[in-house]
Amino acid sequence: MTALSLQNVTKTYKGGVTALRDVSLDVPEGDFFGLLGPNGAGKSTMIGIISSLVERSSGRVQVFGYDLHAQPWEAKTRLGLVPQEFNFNGFETVEQIVLNQAGYYGIPRRRARQRTERYLRQLGLWDKRRDAARTLSGGMKRRLMIARALVHEPPLLILDEPTAGVDIELRRSMWQFLREINARGTTIILTTHYLEEAETLCRQIAIIDEGQIIENTGTQALLNRLSSHAFILDTTGDLERAPGIPDYSIEQLDGGRLEVEIHDHQSLTDLFRVLAEHGITVVSMRNKANRLEELFLRLVEDNGSGDGRDRTDEPPRETA
């Protein structure tokens, strides 16, 4: 079953800017799906259209086979959204916000209370249930939005930058929580700027740029396309310069640190042996960068938009 299906979705804003161009995308049920793209690529517009916050110009959106516009009740009850920005009433209590959200989905009060307690406990917010939401820390506010999105128990959960501004410890615990609900059958679509997050969590990744899907494949298949890996090596001693070793691209960073690029046909064992022959002992090593990040930058650059500019082709929403 397809959890989410976008067919030829286009969005042109009133000012004439086209944020999405004929996008088609299928997300299978049970998937952990990553949606990546530079700022202004159209991610938020796409999520806005799926969650009914943005009106599409043309195309069709289906959630578990239900047309979002023709069968809104069936489609919307199957969808939960954790938006990028805090969008709850800060004057209401944590418990009230989650309870109200359950009410909007027609869940009777008694069941809503049970679910509210369950999700607030799971997300470590039960002790804060009587606090006004505006008094919570940033991480707690993010968890509140997750609890709110889950209270009607949707089979499809969309998270737009859920760990933005969240410390590492909390990010890891949120990853664990998301993995657990995905394992229980919830399809998850995640947008993130942390490519490590996408690499760690997502089984399938789509890259969107300039309003178009430029890549949509399995995470592993995507990573396999990398023909080389860069490593930082910490060596003993203070090197005067990088050793000149044929077939290896080696650059000295400072003192005893080297940056080495290893291609698929080469091996680390061979490299260490050659370095040892030059009297260099490797103490430790690490990846220079996240592998997905390298690939992402390469794909976006190939698409002609990897100039590092923070494009603003999506107009800010009205006063809301």
Partner: protein
């Protein structure tokens, strides 16, 4: 249509809205009680006896229904316009837009809040008025139906205002420059029989005049106009504003990008 779920959603929005204005009672319920008490003291007790009877009633008895109606109109309107615009401004309206709640239920929920605050402030002002004069009721049916329908009408008007509003100034302009003149010139403090023909004719174009007079009929049994015309005007405005609100909500005007 999922009636049972929609009913739960309606109860949720209505409960949230009523809880909101009760939580901030010092901003919502107390001011009209104090302002209207001042009206009764100044116009009813101090100036009223010098004005003399109006339409055969003491001036205090004459102004009480209109003063109650001012509180109902301004609070019904004010509750919906500030609450819905606040939800847009803080973006928590998105909670409802993402949900399957039908437009009709969203509208009915916000109108419930407006009517709740309008009627509660109307009741508070009525209790305050009872300290100044011996209130008599001519027709309970007319009284309740007119105040309820008027509250619905101005709640809908506040909703339309909130949909179009883009900044806080936009929710103050209509109450200040349209609503206040219409209510104060709506025969609250005088009978239009005192006016010259021209201004009487102008006053007849003011819809608030019909509501105030129909409400006064409920208290005193006297009115400058036929109360059935008042019911007709209120009904037409409710249908027009209700339809407009639903169309705007359905199209996502001011809400969706």
């Amino acid at each position: 249509m999922y009636w049972r779920q929609s009913l739960v959603a309606l109860q949720t929005i209505a409960h949230k809205e009523v809880h909101r204005f009760l939580r901030i009672w010092a901003q919502t319920l107390l001011p009209p009680a104090i302002t209207m008490s001042l009206y009764f003291v100044i116009f009813g007790n101090l100036i009223g006896p010098r004005i003399g009877p109006m339409e055969g009633y003491t001036y205090m008895d004459f102004i009480v229904p209109g003063v109650i109606m001012i509180a109902v109109i301004t609070n019904s309107y004010g509750n919906v316009v500030s609450s819905f615009f606040g939800a847009k401004f803080q973006r928590h309206i998105e909670e409802l837009m993402v949900s399957p709640t039908p437009s009709l239920v969203i509208l009915a929920g916000y109108v419930s809040g407006g009517v709740g605050r309008g009627l509660l402030t109307g009741l508070i002002v009525t209790i305050v008025a009872a300290f100044f004069t011996d209130l008599k009721i001519y027709s309970v049916g007319v009284l309740i139906s007119v105040v309820f329908l008027t509250s619905v009408l101005f709640s809908l008007a506040g909703f339309v205002n909130a949909i179009f509003a883009r900044k806080f100034d936009d929710i103050a302009i209509i109450p200040t420059f349209v609503l206040t003149p219409l209510t104060y010139l709506g025969g609250v403090f005088y009978s239009i029989s005192l006016l010259p023909d021209f201004w009487r004719a102008v006053s007849m174009a003011n819809p608030v005049l019909y509501m105030v007079n129909a409400f006064r009929y409920g208290f005193l049994g006297t009115s400058d106009i036929d109360i059935w015309i008042a019911y007709g005007i209120i009904g037409v405005f409710i249908i027009l504003l209700g339809t407009l609100s639903l169309v705007l909500l359905h199209r996502g005007v001011g809400l969706r990008g």
